[in-house]
C-alpha cells in the first residue's frame, strides 16, 4: 500500500498548473489525469504534426511518440502511458519507454503499491502478459481477462490452449480455454474462462468457468467446485484466507457461496459485485431483492431502501460497519450509505470513499455539467470544471481535494487540503 503519511497534509491550497498556458502552448490536449497525492497533473498533448507527447506540470516528456494513450498514474505517483513509435508499442514510465517493444499493448494494471506495472501484449499474433518489461515465457493464441495479484508479482488471464477453426463448434465444446498463471496454463481446459481473482498471498487463482455449454462453476487452481450452476459471477478471495466466494444462479435465483457452500440464507433476483471489508469478516453485495428493484445487502440482509434504475459502485468500510453505493432512480443519481439516501440528487455520482475510521464518507458528484464534493450527506456548493475522487488523510480528519477551477480568465489545477470539521461545522 502507498504510504499516505508521506503526503503533504498541511491545510493549504496550491495551484499546481495553469492549464490556460498549456492550451496556448499545444495544438491539442486530451483530458488530464492527476497523481494520487495531487501533486501532479498530466495530459497527452500534440507536440508536432502527427507527433504526441505528455505534458506533466508544464514539462513535456523529452521524446515524442507517434501515439500515446491510456495515460494513468501509478498509486505511487509515476506516470504511465501506452506509446507507439514506428509501428511498435510499449509502455513509457515518466517518459522513459521500456526497451522491449510489442505489436500492441493494452490493459495497464498496477500493484497496490504502484511498484509493478503489468500490461497485456501481443507480438506476432501471440498473446502474453508483461510485467515491468518482462514477458511471460509462454505465449498463447488468445488471451483476455488479465488480472494481477495485489503486490503485482503474479498475473493470470484466460487463455486459449487449443486452437480451433472458426465454425468448429464441436471442438469448442470439448474445452479449449484455461487459466494461465504467470504464463503457465492450468492442466484443465474449460469451455470458457472469464473473470478471475488472485489470493492475497498471490499463490492461488479462482476463476468463473463453463465446464459444458450448460454448466457454470468456480475453479480454484484448476479444480472446480463440486456443483455446477446455471450461471456464476466473478469469484473473490477473502482478503485474509484462501477461501473463495462467488454469486451463483441456482433454480433461477442468485445466492452467495463460499467454497461451494451457500453462506447467505436467502436468494435474490440478482446478486453481484460482492465486496469484503479489510479483515474479511463482512461481505456486502449489490442485490435485487425483487425484479427491477436494486439495493445493497450486508451479510445477506438487504436495505429496505431500493432503487429502480440501478445500483453500482458498492463499497464497504474497512471495519465492515458501513456500506455505501451509487443508486439511480427515475434517471437521477444518489449516494446511499447504510440504507439512507442522501437528500441531493445528481446527474452522476462516483463511488463513495470512507475514511479509515469509517466516520466520514465523501464522494465526487456531478450536477449541471459541474463537479462537486459531497461529504456525509452534505453537498458542497463549490463547483469544479474537473474533479477527482477525494482522499482522506490517514487519521480521517482531512480531505485532499484535487480539482480544476475555471472562470472567464482562468483554468487552473489546484491541490487543496481541507479539514473535515471545517466542512461539517
Amino acid at each position: 500500500m502507498v504510504d499516505l503519511d508521506a503526503w503533504d497534509w498541511e491545510v493549504d491550497k496550491r495551484m499546481i498548473a495553469d492549464l490556460r498556458q498549456w492550451k496556448e502552448q499545444f495544438e491539442h490536449i486530451e483530458e488530464p489525469c492527476v497523481s494520487p497525492d495531487g501533486e501532479k497533473i498530466a495530459a497527452v498533448v500534440q507536440s508536432g504534426e502527427m507527433e504526441f507527447s505528455v505534458c506533466e506540470n508544464g514539462t513535456v516528456w523529452e521524446s515524442p511518440f507517434d501515439k500515446v494513450w491510456y495515460l494513468r498514474y501509478t498509486p505511487d505517483g509515476r506516470l504511465v502511458g501506452l506509446v507507439s513509435d514506428t509501428g511498435t508499442w510499449t509502455v513509457a514510465v515518466d517518459g522513459e519507454a521500456w526497451e522491449e517493444t510489442y505489436d500492441f499493448v493494452w490493459n495497464t494494471q498496477f500493484s497496490e503499491d504502484g511498484k509493478n506495472i503489468t500490461v497485456a501484449a501481443q507480438s506476432g499474433m501471440e498473446y502474453f502478459a508483461v510485467t515491468n518489461g518482462t514477458p511471460w515465457e509462454n505465449k498463447f493464441s488468445f488471451m483476455t481477462n488479465l488480472a494481477i495479484s495485489r503486490d503485482g508479482n503474479h498475473s493470470a488471464a484466460s487463455v486459449q490452449t487449443i486452437s480451433i477453426s472458426e465454425g468448429d463448434i464441436w471442438s469448442f465444446r470439448k474445452g479449449c480455454f484455461s487459466v494461465a498463471v504467470d504464463g503457465e496454463p492450468w492442466d484443465t481446459n474449460f469451455v470458457n474462462v472469464w473473470e478471475m481473482d488472485i489470493s492475497a498471498d498471490g499463490r492461488h487463482v479462482a476463476a468463473e468457468v463453463r465446464t459444458t455449454i450448460y454448466d457454470f462453476t468456480i475453479a480454484v487452481d484448476g479444480k472446480t467446485w463440486p456443483e455446477t450452476f446455471q450461471a456464476v459471477w466473478k469469484p473473490k478471495f477473502s482478503p485474509v484466507t484462501t477461501s473463495v466466494t462467488a454469486s451463483v444462479r441456482k433454480n433461477g435465483v442468485w445466492v452467495l457461496m463460499r467454497d461451494g457452500r451457500q453462506i447467505w440464507d436467502r436468494s435474490f433476483v440478482q446478486l453481484w459485485h460482492h465486496v469484503y471489508n479489510a479483515d474479511g469478516t463482512k461481505i456486502a453485495a449489490i442485490v435485487a431483492p425483487k425484479y427491477g428493484r436494486w439495493t445493497m445487502a450486508l451479510d445477506g440482509v438487504p436495505w429496505s431502501l431500493t432503487f429502480g434504475d440501478l445500483v453500482t459502485d458498492a463499497v464497504i468500510s474497512a471495519d465492515g460497519r458501513r456500506v455505501g453505493c451509487v443508486g439511480k432512480e427515475n434517471g437521477v443519481y444518489f449516494i446511499a450509505v447504510d440504507g439512507i439516501r442522501w437528500n441531493d440528487t445528481f446527474d452522476m455520482a462516483w463511488k463513495p470513499v470512507f475514511s479509515s475510521d469509517s466516520a466520514y464518507v465523501a464522494a465526487k458528484v456531478e450536477k449541471n455539467g459541474r463537479y462537486f464534493l459531497a461529504l456525509n450527506g452534505k453537498f458542497l456548493g463549490h463547483g469544479f470544471k474537473s474533479l477527482w475522487d477525494p482522499v482522506f488523510s490517514p487519521d480521517g480528519k482531512k480531505l485532499l481535494v484535487r480539482g480544476i477551477e475555471d472562470g472567464p480568465d482562468k483554468e487552473q489545477y489546484h491541490r487543496k487540503v481541507i479539514k473535515v470539521s471545517d466542512i461539517l461545522g
Binding site: E30, E31, F104, A120, E166, D168, N251, Q270, D309
Partner: protein, 448 residues
C-alpha cells in the same frame, strides 16, 4: 411457381443440426422439454398457447407465407403448430426427427419480426413462442452451426466476430488516424471517464465495416459530442446468444456492455444502426439480468441523428442526389417507434423519399433478422426465397423512382443485399449514417 414447404425443407443440410440430432434420445428430449416448459414458461406462454383460435389471420402478416404462395406451413400459426403445440400436446414425447424439423422452422422460417402479432386479434406474440422453441433446441444441443459458432464467439470474446481485445482497440486507433486525414483534430476518445455518450457498435463494424466507425467519429466530432468508446470487452452490443436461446450468455453479454458504460460514468449509450442489438439491450438482455429497463438510457442511431439534426448540431450541406426509399427495421420501428424520426432525417438529407408499401410498422421484414442470416450459407437460398414478397415491394418502389434503399440496421443490410442481388433489382443500399456523412456540413475538414 414456388416449391412446397415440404420439398424445400429437404434441401437444407446443416451440420450443427444434423450432429446435434444424432445425440438425441426420446428420453432426453422429453426431459428437456418438460424442464423448460415447467421452469421457464408461465402465464404468458400458457395464454398464447391456449388463446389461439386457429383463425389464421396471422398468416397475412408473415413474409414467408406471402412469399411461398400462401402455403399454410409457413403461416405463423402453422409454424407454431409444427413446433410448440406439438410438444405441449405430446408433453414432450417427440422424436429426434421432430426436433430437427422444429429447429429448422424456429431458426430459419421465422425472423422473430413480430409483424404477425399485429394481425392476431389477440396479439399473440409468435416470436416469443419461436424463441421458446429455440431455447429448447439450444438445451438439446441442436442449433445451426454458423449461429452456434457466433454464440461461441460471444461467449469467448464478448463480441460476435472473434475480435480479440487488441484488434478492437487497434481498429479504433486506425480509424482515428484515417479520419484525421479528413478532420485534423478529430478524436475517437478511448476510455474517457465521465463522457456524455458511450458509443457502442456490433462486432462486424471493426471486422468488416470499419468505415462506419470512421463515419460515426466524424458525425460525433462535427456535432461536438462528448463521447467515448471502451478499450475493453463490452463494446459490442450485439447478441446472437439471445437468438439461439442461450439466455445465460445473453445476460453475461449485456452485463459486460452495461458495466463498461457504468464504469466510464457516461449518461447514455448511443448505439449504431443495428436492430437486433437494440432488442437485446432494451428489452431482453437487460430484463434477464433483473433490470426492467436499461440501467443507462440506450439511444438508437436513428434517434440520435434526429436529435443532432433538430438541435442544429449537424447541418445539411447538400442533398443526396438519388431518390431513396426507407426500409423500417422491425426492432427499432415495431420495437421502438423510430420510423418518423428516421424519415425526418432522411427527408432533410435527400431530395426525394419514395415510400415502399407497406411501410412503417407494417413494413415487410428483410428476412435476415432474428438470427436467420447468421444461420449462414446452408440457409441462404431459403432466406432469399422466403422473402420474394420483399423483392416485389422493393421493385414497386423502384418502379416509382427509388434507386437507393436506406436500411438503418446491419442485418437488414445483409438480407436486402442478397435480395437485391438475387432478384436483380439493381438498387443501392445505404445506412442512414452513410447519407449523413456524405451530405453533412463538415467544418474544419481538410479540402479534397
Amino acid at each position: 411457381m414456388t416449391e412446397s414447404a415440404e420439398k424445400i425443407k429437404k434441401q437444407f443440410i446443416d451440420k450443427g443440426i444434423e450432429k446435434g440430432v444424432e445425440e438425441l434420445t426420446p428420453e432426453k428430449i422429453e426431459k428437456t422439454i418438460n424442464k423448460i416448459l415447467k421452469s421457464e414458461t408461465g402465464a404468458r406462454f400458457k395464454a398464447y398457447v391456449e388463446t389461439c383460435v386457429h383463425c389464421g389471420l396471422c398468416s397475412e402478416g408473415c413474409h414467408y407465407y406471402l412469399s411461398h404462395d400462401k402455403d399454410p406451413a409457413f403461416s405463423p400459426a402453422g409454424k407454431v403448430k409444427q413446433t410448440i403445440w406439438e410438444i405441449v400436446k405430446t408433453k414432450g414425447k417427440v422424436s429426434p426427427e421432430f426436433i430437427k424439423q422444429a429447429c429448422e422452422i424456429a431458426f430459419t422460417e421465422c425472423n422473430l419480426c413480430k409483424r404477425c402479432a399485429m394481425y392476431c386479434p389477440f396479439g399473440i406474440d409468435v416470436a416469443y413462442l419461436m424463441l421458446t422453441m429455440r431455447r429448447i433446441c439450444h438445451m438439446l444441443g441442436v442449433v445451426p452451426q454458423y449461429i452456434c459458432d457466433t454464440a461461441h464467439s460471444h461467449a469467448s470474446t464478448m463480441n460476435q466476430m472473434w475480435v480479440k481485445d487488441d484488434e478492437w482497440i487497434d481498429s479504433l486507433i486506425w480509424q482515428e488516424e484515417e479520419a484525421r486525414e479528413e478532420i485534423p483534430d478529430l478524436r475517437i476518445p478511448l476510455e474517457k471517464e465521465g463522457a456524455d455518450i458511450f458509443y457502442s457498435v456490433i462486432g462486424p463494424e471493426p471486422k468488416f465495416r470499419a468505415q462506419l466507425i470512421y463515419q460515426a467519429a466524424v458525425i460525433m466530432n462535427v456535432a461536438g459530442a462528448d463521447w467515448t468508446m471502451p478499450a475493453t470487452p463490452g463494446w459490442d452490443n450485439s447478441d446472437m446468444c439471445m437468438f439461439i436461446g442461450e439466455n445465460e450468455m445473453m445476460g453475461r453479454l449485456k452485463k459486460s456492455h452495461f458495466e463498461a458504460a457504468m464504469r466510464l460514468k457516461v449518461k447514455r449509450i448511443v448505439m449504431g444502426e443495428c436492430g437486433h442489438a437494440f432488442r437485446s439491450v432494451y428489452d431482453m438482455g437487460n430484463r434477464w439480468l433483473g433490470w426492467k429497463m436499461p440501467p443507462i438510457p440506450v439511444i438508437h442511431a436513428l434517434e440520435f441523428y434526429h436529435e443532432l439534426l433538430t438541435q442544429g448540431k449537424i447541418k445539411v450541406a447538400k442533398k443526396f442526389d438519388k431518390a431513396v426509399t426507407f426500409h423500417d427495421p422491425c426492432n427499432v420501428v415495431r420495437g421502438r417507434g423510430l420510423h418518423e424520426m428516421g424519415r425526418e432525417v432522411t427527408r432533410a438529407f435527400t431530395n426525394e423519399l419514395i415510400e415502399m408499401h407497406p411501410n412503417r410498422e407494417q413494413n415487410l421484414c428483410c428476412c435476415a433478422g432474428g438470427g436467420v442470416i447468421n444461420c449462414g450459407p446452408p440457409f441462404k437460398m431459403k432466406r432469399i426465397d422466403g422473402d420474394r414478397i420483399k423483392a416485389e415491394q422493393l421493385f414497386n418502389a423502384k418502379s416509382r423512382g427509388a434507386s437507393t434503399i436506406i436500411a438503418p440496421c446491419h442485418n437488414c443490410h445483409g438480407g436486402l443485399e442478397d435480395i437485391v442481388h438475387h432478384y436483380g433489382l439493381g438498387m443501392d443500399i445505404k445506412f442512414l449514417g452513410d447519407i449523413i456523412y456524405e451530405c453533412m456540413e463538415k467544418p474544419g475538414a481538410s479540402e479534397g
